[in-house]
Symmetry: C2
Subunit: 330 residues, 2 copies
């Protein structure tokens, strides 16, 4: 790996854990098979083979190795985490009525909503079977708790949509549900499996939580500020779907009469698709930039949490990863 220098931090982490990651991919392929229902691997192969970056399983692998784990069960947990993630993607696409995911048509368009719902259920069930195999009740408790938090966050997002009263606290709960809960659990179970100290396990959980929040806030920033080539996002999706994200939540108390009327029309009633105006407002009030800075604050918290963990090459890579998830902004 002489040209490591040309890789981004996520690619460097993948290269460092290449053998473990290959094991995860093999296990995913074996476990998503279904003798009885051939449509299952068709649907999942479409998603699993769609160039996902494997961020979450990498977190589990890195956390376990960083805490000195020498066994093989971290591969099972990493595959578990990826199954949960893939299941939520399948269900999200039904919920969002999405047409694209990772630059390809979504499963619900290629097949149907029914397949997305049921294959998602299958992956959830398979993920629980996999984690049961590790025999750790604490791991089971963490991951089943994360699954509940994820679903709760998604329901909350649904009922908060088009509601201009949405607070920043609600926003953060949604962000934790849709992204940070699985990042947190992915890190935490790696430490638990490795038999790390309580302090280390808490540090891993805090790192995952802050990393996930930084990642999601930056994602929400991109939707108004910078999406486009290379990001796999469409500018203005959140706006058009009436999702209340940080740039808008912070712009609302600063809005004058005309702006308030605009947000009501656009977000509450879905009657305006003047995204350029929305962009101009969040830019003028500085709430777009404040959103980016909020992501950087969470990035810093993620890096601070790492201090309680053994100083090592992997720890440095996790710190670099925290920088990387907010660098998409520059």
């Amino acid at each position: 790996m002489a040209d490591d220098i040309h890789l981004n931090p996520l690619e460097r982490l993948s290269a460092r854990l290449a053998d473990d990651l290959a094991g995860v991919d093999r296990l995913i392929r074996v476990r998503m098979a279904s003798e009885n229902a051939p449509r299952i691997p068709e649907v999942t192969a479409h998603l699993v083979g769609a160039g996902g970056k494997r961020v979450r399983p990498l977190l589990t692998l890195a956390a376990a190795r960083l805490c000195g784990y020498g066994g093989d069960d971290h591969v099972k947990l990493a595959a578990t985490v990826e199954f949960i993630h893939t299941a939520t993607l399948l269900h999200d696409d039904v919920v969002d009525e999405s047409a694209q995911r990772r630059g390809r048509p979504t499963a619900n368009l290629l097949w149907d909503n029914q397949s997305s719902v049921l294959v998602g259920d299958y992956l959830f069930a398979r993920s629980f079977q996999l984690m049961v195999e590790t025999g750790s009740l604490r791991v089971l408790d963490i991951l089943s708790g994360a699954a509940a938090t994820i679903a709760e966050g998604e329901v909350l997002q649904l009922s908060a949509a088009r509601n201009l009263e949405t607070t920043e606290a609600t926003y953060l709960t949604v962000v934790r549900g849709k992204t940070a809960a699985l990042f947190e659990a992915a890190c935490e179970v790696g430490g638990v499996l490795a038999g790390a100290t309580e302090t280390e396990v808490r540090a891993l959980a805090a790192y995952g939580d802050a990393l996930g929040i930084a990642f999601q806030i930056l994602d929400d920033w991109l939707d108004y500020g910078g999406a486009g080539e290379g990001t796999g996002k469409n500018l203005g999706d959140d706006f058009r779907e009436g999702k209340l994200t940080l740039p808008v939540i912070r712009a609302l108390p600063l809005a004058d009469e005309a702006e308030r009327a605009f947000w009501r029309d656009a977000i509450e009633r879905g009657r305006s698709d003047d995204f350029a105006r929305a962009q101009a407002i969040v830019e003028r009030h500085g709430t777009l930039e404040a959103t980016r800075l909020e992501a950087l604050t969470w990035r810093d918290r993620a890096k601070d949490a790492l201090a309680a963990l053994p100083d090592s090459e992997l720890r440095g890579m996790l710190a670099d990863l925290a920088d990387f998830v907010v660098e998409r902004a520059s």
Copy 2:
């Protein structure tokens, strides 16, 4: 309970286990709450309060008590089983685009498909949290396996729909997935929790499997032969949705040219809704009656399996329950 004689076998079992069942209801109410997302209890209360008969949790309670269990964790497992069942109902309604369930509008019509998908996910996650609390890895293995079999069966049913090549073996796999797998697991985990012998656990599993198959085949019979008042079913639903069930699967090899053309039009292409003709065909070939007899065969297998269990009042009640699920036919 002087007028026990006026109760049907399911009601008698409910009365016998009334305290345990009240505990299950209390636990369900507590665990389906969500501080963050008030829509969750709204959706689930609608379903859980909709007069479900609690067959599955009763099986878990009865199996545990029958094997001499004296603790409280069977209430947790029974609630787990009901959560899994409720989650699959919510997802089924999205899949079937149903408008009615238990004589009331389905959640996906009252709220939206999104809520049905996500609240179902939440209940799945909560069910896993509950079973983790029992601390039994074997229970976790059985129930996570059942969840996978359920999803697999539903996907198989989806890809078998409108396919006249569907075999009786595929039909049985679907029946096990959509109904018998959870009946089987519900019985089995009760025995495992009670520390029953392997022979007893196997007997409970065999009873649940056969009971579930008898129940589902009878349900499929009702759809052509007897649905209507009191059954909560609409005659002809399976026919109109292009589902291949036993009366039709067995009528296909006996079909003459004209009948084959009719099935192709009706089932494969969804172009005929002449349900009266479908009924006449399955009646004339005797495959409707053969379906009812097949349900009775599985009823007998269920009762036979009980022989390996301790002779007791509860065992007698489980035998009566097997008679009851096929009596809806008379």
